[in-house]
Every structure is written in structure tokens, then in C-alpha cells.
Amino acid sequence: MKLFEYQAKELFQEAGITVPESVLVKAGSSIDQATDKIGFPCVLKSQVMQGGRGKAGLIQFVKTQSEAKEKFDYLTGRGVQTILVEQAIDIAREIYIAITIDPVDCSTLIMASSEGGMDIEELAATMPEKIIREKVAAFRELEIFQTRDVMFKLGLTGNAFKQGVKLLLTMFKLFRCYDAELVEINPLVVTGDGNLIAADGKFIIDDNAGFRQQSYSLSRDQFDSDIEFEAAKEGIPYLQFDGDIGLMCAGAGLTNAIYDLVNYFGGRVANYLEFGGPNYRRAVEAMEFTLRNKPKVILIVTFGTIARADVMAQGIVDAVKKLNPEIPIVTAIRGTGEEEADKILKTIGFENLSDTEDAVKKAVALAKGGK
């Protein structure tokens, strides 16, 4: 789960990393109290998941009360629900620093660069030699000599150097103890008087560690659409797109391949939905979610490993009887019990196809109004 900037900064602050003074303001309330506390100039930062907020105009620098009100209305008018009002800081230098995972040699990877403010992908593409890398092997801790090495390479001195060593050790502790996939501060600001302040924060917690990381629950703001949010709460993998062929497929790998095939044959996908694994008995819910994005046709492709074809077919029959979808449904449900699946689907007049490409082609033709 990706945290919002303000949540990341709360974690930083609790752990002793300096962040700018700030107040969180919700859409619909007044910004006055916040600006009274923070003073001017200050920055209005939209708490949204998308990257590139600066370029998208979702971060606004304001100097006066009237300007603050105007920009606040502008941002909430664009649908932003939560805004972080933050003190403007005196920037002498900007640094990039992040901790992530190296899956090849099983280490925790620290990346740092003097080119703060730039995004790391851009940096890796244009100036890879400017990225400082330090690795911590699994079963090892980050040692002080390693943090010193990073700070020397960043060219920090005096107070900033000492703060940097402490900051990196703290980031590492947070990374391990919160099961993070990424902890990033970009930019880490060196102020005019030589102190370090985390001006931004990115924090991604591993979804698989949910059983031991229960501080954060899913919120609507983390998803691109209502349906994605509701499906996630139900534990059904679902992604919404803008095409007209609704997918109900089993297994992530097969679903991805079907997504590609629909595009290959000139169709467009309305949604990605995995109706397999632990969800293979939940055809009714799966079809309900699939219907919500108003597809012109539903394409059901499975080639079961654990999931039995006959059970899935029966689920589809039940779902069709209950939901009465007014759109055509194409099925290719294969795997254990597939002969039985053919018979079950025939009871509601469905011809279960055996070839994946035939099924995709048929769905694409139906979506275009053909037969």
C-alpha cells in the first residue's frame, strides 16, 4: 500500500526525521486556521496518489491569504480531498535519497544522489553515474560506516553530515520495521543554515505483509475508481479501463495474456478481473463487478489449475440466472471437468469454446456489433 505524503511524513516525524511544519486541511473546510498557524509564504500540497504533482499543478506556492484561498478552492475544485498546508523552506541544496529492494542479490538497496528534485527514473536514464548505491545484505543491519560513506559521497559536511547519518539509519529502521517496498525522500533539503529537512516523502508498504502491518486500512483515495476500491475490499483483483470487453479470467498470467490478445485482435478491454484461485466459486460477485463498467460483451477465459471447470461453469450459470445480463457472454472454460462444464453451459444455451483465440476473436466481433 502506498501511503500519502502526509502519512509518510507522520512516520518520519515520529521517528525523529525533521519535516516542515504543516497542517492537514480537508476539502469543504476553511484553510484560514492552517495558514494562521503556518504563516506565509506556504505551500498547498494535494494529497493524491498520482506522481508528477508539481507539473500537474497540484502543488501551489502562495504568499498571501487571498491567494491561499483562491488556490485552495482551485485544488478542491479539481476533486482533491485533502491538502497539506506546509511552511515554505529555505533551500540551499536538494538531495535524493531512497531505500528499496534488490531482488537479485537479496539486499536492501540505498540510492542517493546530489541531484535532488529530479525523479530517479530520469536520473537513472540520463546520469546513472550520479547515483550512489549502498547495499545491505539480508540478515545484516545498516552499519554506521555505510551511512558515513553515503554522506561523504553526497558532499555533506558539519551538522548536515551528522544529521544525514542519523536520518539514513532512521529511514532504514522504518524500512525494515514497516515491511516497506520503498521509502523515499525527494527532495531532502539542506537549508541555508545547514540543516536537513524531508520536504517530500514516499512510503510503500508491502501488501503481503498486511497481517503484521495493520496501521493503515484501504481508503478510496488510493484507487483510481470506486469499483477498483470496492473490488479490493472484496479481495477480487480488478482494474478498470475504458474499453467495452469485460474480462473474467482465471489467473493473473492468463488474464494478462487475454488482455494482450483483445488488443491484438483490435478490441478494447473494459476491465481486468481475476475470477480464479480463491475466487473461483464467486462467479456472481465477479460478474456483478464486471457488469458495472457497462461492457458490451463479457469474455470468460479460464484454464484451471486448482479451480475446476465444472464448478466455474455452474457459477456462471447461477450468475447469469441471477443477474440476467443483457449482453452476450463468450466462454472458454477449460481444465479439470471441462466436458462437464460444456454440458452445464449448454443448459443456458452457451457454447463453451475450447480455443482461446477463437473466444477472443468472437468477443471482439460482438463488441463491434457483429456476431
Binding site: 529492494i101 531482488p103 537479485v104 537479496c106 539486499s107 536492501t108 530517479i120 527514473e121 537513472a124 536514464a125 545484505a137 539480508a138 540478515f139 525494515r176 515491511d179 517496498e181 508491502d206 501488501d207 503481503n208 505483509a209 497481517f211 503484521r212 483483483p237 482494474l239 479501463f241 479470467c249 482465471a250 489467473g251 493473473a252 498470467g253 492468463l254 488474464t255 494478462n256 495474456a257 488482455y259 494482450d260 490478445l261 488488443n263 491484438y264 481486468y272 481475476e274 480464479g276 484461485g277 479460464t302 484454464f303 484451471g304 489449475t305 486448482i306 477449460r334 481444465g335 479439470t336 482461446t356 483465440e357
Partner: protein, 294 residues
């Protein structure tokens, strides 16, 4: 010959008394696997499909000398179960569980490297030598997919494996060793690490790799081919070529981030190294025929 599991490989099943464990034990035995023991803490003395259950892996090892272990344990206990197997001296482990925390997977992979063991998974269907034995959850009775032959298959996906392998069989081939790398972002064994085994294996004439967007495993395979570590023909199918950037497409590892992990990049690297890449599953069989004619 197989690269991981043979007819006489002595197999242990950890988590044998659970619903998944006992269900699949029946099928693991059904294909002909030499299962010697099961382990579930606190269930010593029980039998599952005639197989004796022990409390600990150490006990099972002392009594039955297994060479390999397949784990049917929930993801939060996967690390513990892998360490238990490694500590008891087992050097081949298959982890089926989906949803293992990334930090645990890092330690599992590191521990396996330290012990010179091969841990396969998590989030995998496992490993199968069709017609002989399996450590995993394969519907081996579907004969248009699981047929013996001389094509090695390695895959990041269970469901897509059936789809692609059916095309390999349809083209007249069979499978030597099928290895499920798994769909996680930190698999304990990576594609390229299977290649030296396939290279040595006399039963494997060529390899089909079923890859996916995200990560760098397919690029590592291209590197191994360029370096001459793997010299047999290789055909790949890579899912997610039209997937939107930044969306996690089902599998934890299936995401393009920071310009890394794009299918286009993988295809370019593989083709440059001499592999053929199928643009859809159905093309895999024909490409295999083509590359084996050369």
C-alpha cells in the same frame, strides 16, 4: 532425466494435514511421486493417504531421509517452514504459497544461496516432470498439457502455463521439466538460475520461457544466452505487452516501474540473444518447430 524431481526423489510434504496439503497429496501420489513423509506440528502419528505425519522436519528427516520438500503452508509461515527444511539438511524446496511478504522472501532466497540449496517459488504451481513425479498443484491428468517429452518449460504463471504448454503439445512436442518460478517480485530462484540445469540435462532439447512484464528476470536470461551459459534453443512468450504503465497486473511482480520491466525491453534483449519470441500463446509451438529446424 529431469532437472529437479525424478521417480526416486524422496519427497516430504510440509503442511500435509491441511485442506490444500491433503488434497494435493492425493494427486502428488497419483502421478507416481515417491512421497516418504509429511509434517504438521502437533499431528504426529496421523496418516494422510497412507503417508506418515511427523511433528518436525528434523524428525521426518531422521526417520525417512527425504531429498526434497514441498510446502503447503500459509504465506505468513512460509519463511519459517523454508528455514526448517534447510536447517534439517533438505536442499530442494518448493513453496506454493501466494502472498509471502517481500522482506521474508529476501531472507528465504538469501538463506537458500548460503546453503547452496534451490528454493522454488513462492506463488508458484511448483515443479513437474510429466508422467513421472511432481511437487506442486498441476492437473497432470490433462493430457493435452502434461505430456512427457524434451522441451523444458519455465514459467511465472500457473494459468498461462496450461495455455502455452497446450500449444507446445499441439505442435507435437512434450515436456521434460516444468519449473514454476512463481509470480512474486522476489522469487527465490530466478529464471536464469535454471538455465545451467537445462543446459546439462540430456532430456531437454529446447526451453520455452513463459515470462511477464515487470522485473528483470527475462533480461537475465538474455544475458546468460549472450554469455554462453545457455546454448540450447529458447522460445519465449511474454505476457503484458499491452499493459498500461504503473498498474500492478495481478501478480505482485507484474508491474512496469521506472522504465524497467517493459515487455518491449525484454523482447529486444531476448531476440538479440538469439531467442524467438511468440507474439501470442498460439505461436509458441510453431516457433519451437522453426528454431529446432535450424
Amino acid at each position: 532425466m529431469s532437472i529437479f524431481i525424478e521417480k526416486d526423489t524422496r519427497v516430504l510434504i510440509q503442511g500435509i494435514t491441511g485442506s490444500e496439503g491433503s488434497f494435493w497429496t492425493k494427486h502428488i501420489l497419483g502421478i507416481g511421486t515417491n512421497v516418504v513423509a509429511g509434517v504438521t506440528p502437533g499431528k504426529k502419528g496421523q496418516k494422510v493417504e497412507g503417508i506418515s505425519v511427523y511433528n518436525t522436519v528434523r524428525e521426518a528427516v531422521a526417520e525417512t531421509q527425504p531429498d526434497a520438500s514441498v510446502l503447503f503452508v500459509p504465506p505468513k509461515f512460509a519463511k519459517d517452514a523454508v528455514f526448517e527444511a534447510l536447517d534439517a539438511g533438505i536442499r530442494k524446496v518448493v513453496v506454493i504459497a501466494e502472498g509471502i511478504p517481500v522482506h521474508d522472501a529476501l531472507q528465504m532466497r538469501k538463506a537458500a544461496m548460503n546453503e547452496k540449496a534451490m528454493v522454488v517459488g513462492g506463488n508458484t504451481s511448483g515443479v513437474i516432470t510429466p508422467g513421472v513425479a511432481m511437487m506442486g498443484i498441476f492437473p497432470y491428468w490433462i493430457d493435452r498439457v502434461y505430456k512427457q517429452g524434451n522441451i523444458g518449460i519455465m514459467t511465472r504463471s500457473g494459468s498461462l502455463t496450461n495455455e502455452v504448454t497446450a500449444m507446445v503439445i499441439k505442435a507435437g512436442f512434450g515436456v521434460s521439466s516444468l519449473m514454476g518460478v512463481g509470480g512474486d517480485s522476489v522469487p527465490c530462484t530466478r529464471f536464469a538460475e535454471f538455465l545451467p540445469l537445462y543446459e546439462k540435462d540430456t532430456a531437454t532439447q529446447a526451453v520455452v520461457m513463459i515470462g511477464e512484464l515487470g522485473g528483470t528476470m527475462e533480461e537475465e536470461v538474455a544475458e546468460a544466452m549472450e554469455a554462453g551459459i545457455f546454448t540450447k534453443p529458447l522460445v519465449a512468450f511474454i505476457g503484458g505487452r499491452t499493459a498500461p504503465v504503473g498498474k500492478k497486473m495481478g501478480h505482485a511482480g507484474a508491474i512496469v516501474s521506472g522504465g524497467q520491466g517493459t515487455v518491449a525491453g525484454k523482447i529486444e534483449a531476448l531476440e538479440k540473444a538469439g531467442a524467438l519470441v511468440a507474439d501470442r500463446p498460439s505461436a509458441t509451438g510453431e516457433l519451437l518447430k522453426e528454431i529446432l529446424k535450424k
